[in-house]
């Protein structure tokens, strides 16, 4: 019973969007008579309209994927060495630094948008998808550092000491001993970072203005603001479905890593 309620609560709104996206506009407003289940059949018109729009909808998904991928790479490149050092630092320094990082993780990013916008203006970074990785990496670093630090701590010190005895330097130890053991944690962190970047809104909204460079989140807001029809919900719903599909796929494919990443973050954070 409770499980069924949870299923309906979680999936209901999404199923409704899927249903709406496949129904002709007149059917949605009862123009054909008979309300929800009424006649009118099914249609792909809303999807066609989106995919042949100007710009076509899929470009937003590509932009988001590009920003997500480059931000994830940059974040991990910065976070891995930092997390390693943090986990090997003395107890006190490590604790107080981790606390600061945790506070940054909870900080609402929207409060930063104005200063970051000025940064974009002064350094001519606006409307540059790759440059968006610079603030995104900053926003994702706290979470990545906390997650990776916890995993570095789980690696027994003896292993590293043995590598020192073998005469391996710091760099070699990281590359050949520690990183292979870190792969699961890095995968979890990468997925969470990617999801965050895919969904980020306020910074993308203020950094990007050219419509063919928008990422998904600001594109959705722009679609919401511009309605050609009085009841444009068929097209809206189709956009919702297309915008959600990649992430739902990602969740289904990598559920274990994502869930373990989130729970690890809770336990060690």
């Amino acid at each position: 019973m409770a499980r069924l309620a949870l299923l309906i609560w979680s999936l209901g709104p999404m199923v409704w969007q899927l249903y709406t996206s496949l129904r002709p506009t007149e059917a949605l407003t009862g123009g054909l008579g008979g309300g929800l289940g009424g006649p009118g059949g099914w249609t792909f018109a809303h999807y066609q309209q989106l995919l042949h729009g100007n710009p076509p909808f899929q470009i937003y998904l590509l932009n988001s994927a590009l920003v997500g991928a480059s931000s994830t790479a940059l974040t991990l490149a910065l976070a891995v060495p930092c997390a390693y050092a943090l986990s090997r630092l003395g107890r006190n320094a490590s604790r107080s630094l981790s606390l600061l990082v945790a506070a940054a993780a909870a900080f609402p990013a929207v409060l930063l948008f104005l200063a970051l916008l000025e940064l974009a203006r002064n350094w001519h970074l606006a409307n540059n998808l790759l440059a968006l990785s610079l603030p995104y990496a900053g926003l994702c670093l706290p979470l990545a550092i906390l997650l990776l630090q916890a995993s570095f701590r789980d690696i027994p010190m003896e292993l590293e000491e043995a590598a020192v005895m073998e005469g391996m330097g710091l760099w070699q130890r990281l590359r050949w001993v520690l990183l292979p053991l870190m792969t699961p944690a890095m995968a979890s962190a990468a997925l969470l970072i990617f999801i965050f970047c895919w969904n980020e809104y306020p910074i993308a909204l203020t950094w990007l203005s050219r419509s063919d460079l928008l990422t998904l989140a600001p594109a959705m807001a722009r679609i919401a603001g511009s309605s050609v029809y009085t009841i444009p919900y068929g097209a809206f719903a189709a956009a919702t479905v297309l915008g959600s599909a990649p992430l739902i796929l990602l969740m289904l494919l990598f559920q274990r890593q994502i869930i373990s990443g989130l729970t690890q973050g809770a336990i060690k954070g």
């Binding site: 050092a85 993780a105 909870a106 929207v110 670093l141 959705m220 919401a224 919900y233 969740m251 559920q255």
Partner: protein, 292 residues
């Protein structure tokens, strides 16, 4: 050896300073400058003028109240429902893994995407909720056009999206509680309610605190959902502090005051986080005394 560790940390720490600390310092400076269309978008020092303006700005205080109201209700709901969801997902039932993934889906979706979806779900009269009410012979609810109701619609949408996140954090805590504690309690005749109160809740405290503080901070900065779902309306009844700061900069082109509002919002956040932490501490000590 030690300096090498600091060297490894330096890039990330500097990056964090640049993205989190530098903006705050910049706002502190910008809040003492007028930078509007009237000044040709060039900064001109005005001292504490904008801080006085903030103090006397009825819209700022109204938005503070609305943001606090939204945060308090939605975070409370998320904690209670999140705990229930976590307990359910912790049960050794068939299909547990699939259920966990499905219930986490709402959290993964972009807020702007689902905010647009909710606009249609709450639609009056064509949305499914109102269709259902009308089918039952009841009158529809103007979810998005009645100032007394719309903020609750925003709470609803936020709760839908973030409860799974809270549930997952608490689930991590549940998994860390040794099962033999429950077995021992059952042997001594404790019922389900008693073991929840005496074992689960006390041992879950650190997780509840993390989830509470994290969610409070995020809810107090609510922006994406409000901007797409209601745009702050009707009649400004759902406008949040972050949206007000955004409008000041991007619509009124009043950058100096936007920075002031930003810092004002941050101050509200700090006060609330401190109060929540204290209240939590207090409830913990009274709880401990009660159990003794």
């Amino acid at each position: 050896m030690r300096w090498k560790l600091w060297l490894l940390m330096a890039p990330a720490l500097l990056w964090l300073l640049a993205i989190f600390a530098a903006p705050m310092l910049h706002y502190a400076w910008l809040s003492t400058q007028a930078e509007t269309v009237l000044t040709g978008l060039q900064p001109r020092p005005v001292g504490a003028e904008q801080w006085l303006r903030l103090w006397n700005d009825a819209r700022f205080w109204q938005d503070t109240w609305q943001t606090l109201r939204f945060s308090a209700v939605s975070v409370l709901l998320e904690m209670v429902l999140g705990l229930a969801m976590a307990l359910l997902l912790h049960q050794p039932l068939r299909g547990r893994g699939a259920l966990r993934t499905i219930s986490l889906l709402p959290w993964a979706l972009p807020t702007t995407v689902m905010a647009l979806g909710w606009r249609w779900i709450f639609n009056d009269p064509y949305g499914p909720i109102n269709q259902l009410l009308q089918g039952l012979g009841l009158s529809g609810v103007p979810f998005l056009s009645d100032p007394a109701i719309t903020w609750l619609a925003a709470v609803w949408a936020d709760t839908w999206k973030t409860t799974p996140f809270v549930a997952l954090l608490l689930l991590a805590g549940l998994q860390n509680i040794p099962a033999d504690l429950y077995e021992a309690a059952a042997l001594e005749g404790a019922g389900a309610w008693q073991s929840l109160r005496r074992i689960t809740l006390p041992l879950l405290t650190p997780y509840l605190l993390i989830a509470l503080l994290f969610r409070l901070a995020q809810a107090l900065g609510v922006f994406d959902l409000i901007q797409v779902l209601t745009g702050g309306g009707p009649a400004g009844s759902t406008e949040s502090l972050a949206l007000y700061a955004y409008l000041n900069a991007m619509r009124f082109l009043d950058f100096g005051y936007s920075a002031t509002v930003m810092l004002g919002s941050f101050a509200v956040l700090l006060v609330v986080a401190a109060l929540a932490g204290l209240a939590f501490q207090w409830s913990r000590t009274t709880q401990a005394e009660e159990l003794r």
